[in-house]
C-alpha cells in the first residue's frame, strides 16, 4: 500500500476493515505489533509493516502466534503500546498468553478477524464463533473486554477505544472482527490525530523502592504501571502474587488477587458497556446482534417495520463484559428477544441468562461461511410477533 510517506493519514479513504483497523491502531499510538500471517487478518499486519517505518513503530513477524502473543507483552514492559493480530487457529494458540496478560495486567490488544471453524475451517469466509473463546478461552478466572465493529469505519474508531480501555483497566482487550468486515471496503474518515481522545498509560509517580506493581495507587482497582529500566526493579510473574509482584502460594493471596482482577471490570460494567439502540421505544420484539450481523438484522427489522410490526434493534458494541443490566431491563418490557449470530448460539446463552424467563429468547443460529439471509431473521421476527 502507499501512504505517501505520511505518518498521519487524515481525511476520507476507501479501505477495507483490515486496513482501517491497522490505521486505527496507529492513530491510537500503537508502536509495537508482533504477528504471524493468517487469513483473513493478514492485511492488518501487512499494512502495519508498511506503515511502521514511517510512524516509528516496530513490527516483527514472529515464528508463531504463541511467540507473537507474548512478544507484545515484553514490548509493553519495554514501554510500548502493543497489539497482535490473528484469526481462529492462531488465536487458539495465544490462549495461554491472554491469561498471562490478564494475570500480570498488561494493557494490550488482540485482534481476531474471525473465520469459520473449528480447526482450519473456512479460512476465507466469515463466522462469529469465537465469542465464548474470547471470554473464556484461557484457563482460570478472569475478566476481559471485547468489542465488535460492524464496518470499516468502526474498525478504525473502535480499535482506538480498545486501546483506551486496555490502558484504563490494564486488561487485554479482544477486538472481534470477522472476515466480512475485514474484507469489506467502505469510506473511512480519519480525523486529525489531535482530535482523537487517547487514554494515556497510567505510569506510577512513586520513586524506586516505593512502587508496588500490584497495589492500586488511587481508589480504582487498577494499579499504575512502570516500564523496565526505571530503577523500579519490578518482579512480574504469572504465578499468584502479592502487591509487590512476589509469588504467594495461598488461598488468601489468590482470593485477594482474583477478586481485584475480576472486580476492576465487573465494578465498571456500566462505564464499559456500549450498546446502540434503534427503535426500542415502542418495541415489543427486539433483535439483538453484534458485528456484521447487526447490519443484516437492521435490514430484517426494516422489512418487519414496513409491515407495521413494533420491532427494535439493540446492537452490542462491547460484548464483554456482557451488558447484563441492559438486557435485564429490556427483558422486563419486551415480549421477545431474537438473537441472530454466525455461530450455533453463543451470546444468546448470555441473553437467556439475563432475561431469566422474563421474556422469550429466540436464537437464529448460522454455521458460518456467509452472513444470514435477512429473510431468515425476518421470518424469526414474524413468527415471534405471531
Amino acid at each position: 500500500m502507499s501512504n505517501n510517506g505520511k505518518a498521519e493519514l487524515t481525511g476520507a479513504l476507501y479501505i477495507d476493515g483490515d486496513h482501517a483497523a491497522a490505521e486505527g491502531a496507529i492513530a491510537a499510538g500503537c508502536n509495537f505489533v508482533a504477528g504471524y500471517p493468517i487469513t483473513p487478518s493478514t492485511e492488518i499486519v501487512e499494512r502495519i509493516a508498511a506503515r511502521f517505518p514511517g510512524t516509528g513503530g516496530t513490527f516483527i513477524q514472529m515464528e508463531d502466534e504463541i511467540a507473537s502473543s507474548i512478544a507484545i507483552q515484553g514490548a509493553v514492559w519495554g514501554g510500548a503500546k502493543a497489539m497482535t493480530v490473528s484469526s481462529g487457529p492462531g488465536i487458539s494458540l495465544m490462549m495461554e498468553h491472554i491469561g498471562l496478560a490478564a494475570m500480570t495486567e498488561v494493557p494490550c490488544v488482540f485482534v481476531n478477524v474471525q473465520r469459520g471453524g473449528p480447526s482450519t475451517g473456512l479460512p476465507t469466509l466469515p463466522a462469529q464463533a469465537d465469542m465464548m473463546q474470547a471470554r473464556w478461552g484461557s484457563h482460570g478466572d478472569y475478566e476481559i473486554i471485547a468489542l465488535c465493529p460492524n464496518s470499516p469505519q468502526e474498525c478504525f474508531d473502535l480499535i482506538i477505544q480498545a486501546f483506551n480501555l486496555s490502558e484504563q483497566y490494564r486488561v487485554p482487550v479482544m477486538f472481534m472482527m470477522d472476515e466480512s468486515i475485514g474484507h469489506m471496503t467502505e469510506r473511512v474518515v480519519i480525523p486529525p490525530y489531535r482530535d482523537i481522545p487517547i487514554v494515556p498509560r497510567k505510569f506510577t509517580v512513586r520513586p524506586p523502592g516505593q512502587y508496588r506493581p500490584y497495589e492500586p495507587e488511587d481508589d480504582t482497582l487498577v494499579p499504575a504501571l512502570t516500564k523496565a529500566g526505571q530503577g523500579h526493579n519490578v518482579h512480574i510473574t504469572g504465578l499468584t502474587h502479592d502487591e509487590r509482584g512476589y509469588p504467594v502460594m495461598s488461598a488468601v493471596a489468590q482470593d485477594k488477587l482474583i477478586r481485584r482482577l475480576v472486580g476492576k471490570i465487573r465494578n465498571n460494567v456500566h462505564k464499559i458497556t456500549d450498546v446502540r439502540a434503534d427503535g426500542l421505544e415502542d418495541a415489543d420484539v427486539v433483535v439483538l446482534s453484534y458485528g456484521i450481523t447487526s447490519r443484516i438484522a437492521m435490514r430484517a427489522v426494516r422489512m418487519a417495520r414496513e409491515r407495521g410490526l413494533k420491532v427494535g434493534c439493540l446492537r452490542l458494541v462491547v460484548v464483554w463484559p456482557f451488558p447484563e443490566q441492559v438486557i435485564r431491563e429490556l427483558a422486563e418490557r419486551v415480549s421477545v428477544m431474537i438473537m441472530p449470530e454466525i455461530n450455533m448460539g453463543q451470546m444468546v446463552l448470555e441473553v437467556e441468562r439475563c432475561a431469566a424467563g422474563r421474556c422469550r429468547v429466540v436464537s437464529v443460529p448460522h454455521a458460518g461461511g456467509t452472513v444470514h439471509d435477512p429473510k431468515t431473521i425476518f421470518h424469526a421476527i414474524m413468527e415471534a410477533a405471531g
Binding site: T58, G74, A75, A82, K227, G229, I236
Partner: protein, 279 residues
C-alpha cells in the same frame, strides 16, 4: 538488606532480593551456584545495571528471575525468548538476559530458541542444563543423555539429545560456551563476556539436580558430582561444536566455542530503514 553473620556483606547480596530468601532450591542444587557466578559477572561486565532485565520461563531455573533484584519477568513455560524479543525491541537500551532451564529453552521453547539465534536478537541466554525437567519431578527432556533414566523413561532414554552448543552455533549465535557448575571462575568470566556481546550469546551450564536426576541415575551427591565434573570435563576452547555431544557418563567438552561478530537484529533493521530513507 541483611548481612552475613560476621557483619561483612556477601558481594552478591546487593544483586539479590534478600526479602525473598530463603529460596526454593534444594540443598546441593546447581542453580544457586550459577546465580552466584552471574552476580559476580555483573560486577565485571561494566554494564549500567539499571538497564538490566532478567527474563525466565517456568521451572526450577525459571525461578532465577524472582531472586535477582532487577526488572525481572517470570513468564510462561518456554516463552522467555519471545517475551525478551518484545522487551528488547521496544527498548533497545535494555540489556536483556534470558535465564532458564533446558526443558524450557530447548523443548517447549526450542522453536523460539532457534529463531532468536537466527535473528541475532541481542540477548544473553543462560541455560541451566540439569538433564531433566526438575520442577515437575524429574521427567526426561530433549537434553537427557541416551540411557539415562527419568520418571517418563524408566528404561532409559532412547532418543538422541540435542547438542546445545552446536544448535546455537548453527543457528548463528555470536557467542557460545559451555561450562559445568564446577567451573565457577570460568563460568563467571564467560558470563561477563557474553553480557558484553551485541548479539545472541549463549552459555550452557551443566548443573546437578541432586534431588532428581543425580539420585535416579545413582550419580551420587552434589559434592561427588562436582568431583566428577572436575575429573571428566575437558576444556577445549574453540572446539568444533559438532564434537560437543553429551554421552551419558562420558567426558563433557567445556569451553568457549564461538566468539564472532554479526550484525544484530536491531542494527540490521536500522540500517535497512536508513537505506530506505536515503533512496
Amino acid at each position: 538488606m541483611t548481612t552475613t553473620s560476621g557483619g561483612l556483606q556477601n558481594p552478591v547480596e546487593q544483586y539479590l532480593r534478600m526479602d525473598r530468601i530463603p529460596h526454593i532450591w534444594c540443598p546441593g542444587c546447581g542453580i544457586g551456584t550459577t546465580v552466584n557466578c552471574f552476580a559476580r559477572a555483573l560486577d565485571d561486565s561494566g554494564l549500567n545495571l539499571q538497564n538490566l532485565a532478567i527474563v525466565s520461563g517456568i521451572g526450577c531455573t525459571g525461578r532465577v528471575a524472582g531472586y535477582l533484584d532487577f526488572d525481572s519477568f517470570h513468564t510462561t513455560h518456554g516463552r522467555a525468548l519471545p517475551f525478551a524479543t518484545g522487551l528488547k525491541l521496544a527498548n533497545p537500551e535494555l540489556k536483556v538476559v534470558v535465564y532458564s532451564g533446558d526443558g524450557d529453552l530447548i523443548a517447549i521453547g526450542g522453536n523460539h530458541f532457534i529463531h532468536a539465534a537466527r535473528r541475532n536478537l541481542d540477548v544473553t541466554v543462560i541455560c541451566v542444563n540439569n538433564f531433566n525437567y526438575a520442577m515437575t519431578g524429574g521427567q526426561v527432556a530433549p537434553t537427557t543423555p541416551q540411557n539415562a533414566v527419568g520418571t517418563t523413561a524408566p528404561l532409559g532414554v532412547v532418543e538422541r539429545p540435542f547438542n546445545l552448543p552446536f544448535l546455537a552455533d548453527s543457528c548463528g549465535a555470536v557467542y557460545v560456551a559451555r561450562w559445568t557448575a564446577f567451573h565457577v571462575r570460568q563460568l563467571s568470566k564467560s558470563m561477563a563476556e557474553a553480557l558484553r556481546k551485541d548479539g545472541f550469546s549463549f552459555i550452557e551450564v551443566i548443573a546437578p539436580c541432586p534431588t532428581l536426576y543425580e539420585r535416579r541415575n545413582r550419580l551420587g551427591t552434589s559434592l561427588e558430582r562436582m568431583e566428577w565434573y572436575r575429573d571428566n570435563s575437558v576444556i577445549k576452547n574453540g572446539a568444533d561444536t559438532r564434537e560437543c555431544d553429551i554421552v551419558f557418563q562420558d567426558k563433557i567438552v567445556c569451553g568457549k566455542f564461538v566468539d564472532r561478530e554479526r550484525e544484530n537484529l536491531i542494527e540490521a533493521t536500522r540500517a535497512k530503514q536508513e537505506a530506505a530513507r536515503n533512496r
